[in-house]
Symmetry: C2
C-alpha cells in the first residue's frame, strides 16, 4: 500500500484570486472593527493608556552605550542592536546622495541583523483586514504611529531586550505561521544605514486571531485614507504595504519590462561606487560634542542620544542613540499619463549604504536645506518643479516620518505631482526612467530594486483614491 502524500498535490504557481481580494479590501472604505472616523480618537486613547516620555540626553548618560576608545565607534556593551561607525564613499559619476560630492565621509548605522516587519491579514465578512498596531517609537515627532503587526529586530525576538515577547510573532516565524502573501528582504535608508535590510512579510491567518490592546483591524481602503494624514502610518507599515501584489493590470508601458530591466542593469553597471567602513573617530568634518556628533557646516544630520520611559514597549525604559536630520525632506514622484496610462519618473540613486550600486527611488529625494548654499545647476534635478507645483497639480501630499526607532523627527513631505512635457519630458535625462506603478509592483517582489522612500510612495500609488478627494 502506498503511503499518503507528504504534501498537498501541486499548486498553482500564482494565486489567481489574491489580487481581486486585495482590490476588494482597497475598495472597502470601512471595516468590521474600527471606523475610520473613530481612528484618531482610538490612537489618542492608546497614547493616554501608556505614560511615556522621550528626552535628549548627553552621550555620557547613555546606559550600556559607549564610544570605543580606539575607533570612536558608538555601540552597546552587549554587542547587539546597532553601532554608529564611519563610512567612506567614492563614486565616479556624481552628484548623487545627499550631497554633491564624488567622495565623502559620514557616520553610518551598522545593524547587520535582519528584522521582521510583518502584517497579519484576516478575512472578515469576506474582506481582508490588516492587523495594525499603535506603537510608540522615540524618534516619531508624535511618538505614537500605526505600525505593522510585528516590527521586531532579531534582538527583539531573541530577547536581547530582556523584555516582553513580541506579540503575534508566531504567525511570521516558526512552524505555525499562516499563509504567506509577501516575504522579501528590502533595503532601508542607504544614506543612513550600512547595508541594512528587513524582511517585509504579509501573512494571512486562517483561524481565529485574538485582538490585543493597541491593535486594530483595518481594510486597505481605511489605511489608504490614513496615508493622507500627517505622521500616522509609520515607515515600516508603508514599506510592508508596498510589497502587496496589487491588482494593477496595466499591460502596457513606455518601456517594456525587459527594456526597464536593461535600463536598471545599465545604471547598476554604469556607476562605480566603492565603500569602505572607517572608524567613526577618523571621519573628517564631523565633530563630536557632549550631546551631538554633527557636520561642521551644520548640514545633513546629527547623531544624538535620548532616554525613553514607556510602559507598553518591550522594556519599560531605555536610552539609545538616534540620527536626527537637520531639515525636512522632500520625497516626490513626478507623474504623467501617457496614452492614458499613469507613469511615475524614477531615479537611479546611489546611496553609500546600498548593497548594490543603485536602487530606484522617487524623482526627488533630498533635504533642500542641504543644497541651499549651491548654485542652481548643482541642486537636484526636478526639485524646483516639485517645490513650485501649484496646488492643482499635487495629487498627493502628506508628511511622513522615517523609522522612529533609529531616526529623530526625520520628517519628509511625500508628494505625487502631475507634470507635463515642459517639466518632465517623455525622454528623461540620464538616470531617470518613466515606469508604471504596475511595473514597480512587479519589481518589489524582489529586494534591492526600489528604495524605502520609493516604496513609501508606491504604497500610496497603489491605494485607491479616497472618497471625497
Amino acid at each position: 500500500m502506498l503511503s499518503p502524500p507528504l504534501r498537498p498535490p501541486l499548486q498553482a504557481r500564482v494565486d489567481a484570486r489574491l489580487r481581486s481580494r486585495i482590490a476588494l479590501s482597497a475598495a472597502a472604505e470601512e471595516g468590521v472593527q474600527l471606523r475610520t472616523g473613530d481612528f484618531a480618537a482610538w490612537l489618542a486613547e492608546r497614547g493616554r493608556a501608556t505614560d511615556f516620555r522621550v528626552e535628549r540626553i548627553p552621550f555620557a548618560e547613555l546606559d550600556g552605550w559607549s564610544f570605543d576608545e580606539r575607533t570612536g565607534n558608538l555601540g552597546h556593551r552587549s554587542g547587539r542592536f546597532f553601532t554608529v561607525e564611519g563610512l567612506h564613499v567614492t563614486e565616479e559619476a556624481g552628484p548623487f546622495g545627499d550631497g554633491p560630492y564624488a567622495d565623502w565621509y559620514q557616520p553610518i548605522i551598522k545593524q547587520p541583523e535582519v528584522g521582521i516587519l510583518g502584517i497579519l491579514v484576516k478575512e472578515f465578512d469576506g474582506v481582508p483586514h490588516f492587523l495594525m498596531q499603535a506603537k510608540m517609537e522615540p524618534g516619531n515627532p508624535n511618538l505614537l504611529q500605526l505600525s505593522p503587526t510585528v516590527q521586531a529586530t532579531r534582538s527583539n525576538y531573541t530577547k536581547a531586550h530582556k523584555g516582553a515577547d513580541v506579540k503575534y510573532i508566531e504567525y511570521f516565524a516558526g512552524p505555525r505561521r499562516g499563509r504567506v502573501i509577501a516575504d522579501v528582504l528590502q533595503s532601508e535608508h542607504g544614506s543612513w544605514f550600512y547595508r541594512k535590510s528587513n524582511r517585509n512579510m504579509i501573512v494571512e491567518a486562517t483561524g481565529d486571531v485574538p485582538l490585543l490592546d493597541d491593535f486594530c483591524w483595518l481594510t486597505l481602503g481605511q489605511i489608504s485614507a490614513l496615508l493622507h494624514r500627517d505622521n500616522v502610518v509609520n515607515m515600516d507599515s508603508r514599506t510592508v504595504l508596498s510589497c502587496l501584489p496589487h491588482p494593477d493590470t496595466a499591460a502596457r508601458a513606455l518601456l517594456s519590462d525587459i527594456e526597464l530591466s536593461s535600463w536598471i542593469t545599465g545604471e547598476r553597471a554604469r556607476h562605480d561606487v566603492r565603500t569602505e567602513r572607517v572608524p567613526l573617530a577618523s571621519v573628517p568634518r564631523w565633530k563630536r560634542g557632549e550631546s551631538t556628533i554633527e557636520h561642521e557646516d551644520g548640514r545633513y544630520f546629527r547623531v544624538v542620544a535620548v532616554s525613553v520611559r514607556a510602559g507598553n514597549r518591550e522594556v519599560t525604559g531605555w536610552t539609545q542613540p538616534l540620527f536626527e536630520p537637520v531639515g525636512q525632506g522632500v520625497t516626490a514622484f513626478l507623474s504623467r499619463a501617457f496614452d492614458g496610462v499613469r507613469h511615475v519618473l524614477v531615479a537611479a540613486r546611489v546611496e553609500g549604504g546600498f548593497l548594490d550600486t543603485i536602487e530606484l527611488g522617487p524623482t526627488v529625494q533630498c533635504t533642500p536645506d542641504n543644497y541651499a548654499h549651491l548654485a542652481p545647476p548643482d541642486r537636484p534635478l526636478f526639485l524646483d518643479t516639485v517645490l513650485r507645483a501649484p496646488a492643482d497639480r499635487i495629487r498627493y501630499e502628506a508628511i511622513h516620518s522615517e523609522e522612529g526607532g533609529r531616526f529623530l523627527n526625520a520628517e519628509s513631505r511625500y508628494l505625487i505631482v502631475d507634470a507635463d512635457e515642459s517639466d518632465a519630458p517623455q525622454d528623461p535625462p540620464p538616470g531617470f526612467a518613466w515606469v508604471t506603478p504596475a511595473q514597480l509592483t512587479s519589481l518589489v517582489r524582489h529586494g534591492h530594486y526600489l528604495n524605502v522612500q520609493g516604496r513609501s510612495l508606491l504604497a500610496r500609488l497603489n491605494a485607491a483614491e479616497p472618497a471625497g478627494r
Copy 2:
C-alpha cells in the same frame, strides 16, 4: 500643430511572441549556416588558424604583475584587470562552501568592474540563430571553446589591453544596440571571486550582421546538442543562455511562487555570514612558493601563473595569474517528476564572495577530493546519490570547465540525475527546495538568485532533448 511623439506609443510590457520564437529555435536541430555535424571540424580548423601556446611560469616571470610588498596581494601595475587578495569568512550555520568550516581564510580574486557577456541573435528563415565565437582562453583544458559573441571586461573594451577592438560590441553598448531580449547582472563563482558580477545580455539585431572569422550562427537546438559534448560550450555561453526567457509554461509546482520567494528570503535571513578582506600575506595555512600559492593540505585550489602566446586574442601575448582547482568537481541536480511536472532540488548555498548571504545552487556542488578525509556525515548531502547513480538514472552528463580567463583546468562533471523518494524525499532537508525549471527561469530574470553552476545546468534543463537520446 502638435510635434510628433518622441517615442513610439506604449508597448506591451511582455512580448508575447518571444517565447514561441525561442521554442522554434530550440526545436531547430540544424541552422542555416554551420551543420552540427561539421561543428567539430570547424572548431578544429579555427584552432589551427591561430598559433597559441600556454605555459606555466614562476610568478617572477609575470610581466606587469607583482606581489605588493606590504599586503602580499598580487596585482597588475596598471591597477586594472584583477587582484588576488585574502578573504576571511565567518558563518554561523555551516558547513557550506567548499570546506566544512564555519570560519575560514582563503585567497580570492577581486575584480570589481562589470564586464559584458553578450550573445547576438538574428532571425534566418524565420528561426532565431545565435552568434557564437570560437575563443581561446588560457585556462581551458582544450584552449578553444564556444563563447558568447562578446565576452569583454571593461578593461577589454576601454582598451586597457591595448589590443584590438572588441568585435560586435556596438550591438551591446552605445546608441546603436539592438533589441534587448535579456540583460541582467549575474554573480560568478562566490568561492573564487569577491562579489564579481557580469552583465548577461542577449540582443537581437534587426539589420544585416557581417559574419567575421571565428564566429558562427547556431540555433538553440544546435547549441543544446553541443552542451552534451565535453568542454565545448564555455561557461560564459552557458550563463548567458540560462537567462533566455524559455517557453516552459508549467503553471503548477510543489511550492507556489510566493512560497518559493519566502523560502529564499528565509534562507537569506537565517544565514549570518560576515566577510572581511584581508591581506593575502596574512592568510593562514596558505603558502606562497615560486610558482604556486597553495593550501598546506593540498586541497581546494592553487594560484598559479601562465604565459600565453596567441594570434587571435586582443593582444598577441601576455602573462597572467590563474586559479587552478585541485580536483574535478561534481555539479549536479537531482530531479524528480511530481504529478508529471519535472522538478529539480536546489540548495541554498553560502559562498564567501556572494554579494548577499546565499544564492541557489545545484543539489550537489563540490570537489569530492576536498571531502575525502572527512567522516561520511561531514560530506556534502546527496553527493553519494550522485556518485553512485546507475547509468539509467543519468538524464544528462557532460564535463564543462569554468571561465578559462581566470581558472586553469577547472573541470566539473555536470549531471542531471533522476531520484526517487528514498534518495531525495519530497520534503527535503533544511536548505533544499524542489523547484521547476520554469520557476528558475523566472528567478534568473533577476540577479543573485541562481549561482553560475546552477545557471549552467539551467541552460541544459531548458534545452530540448537532442535527437537520438
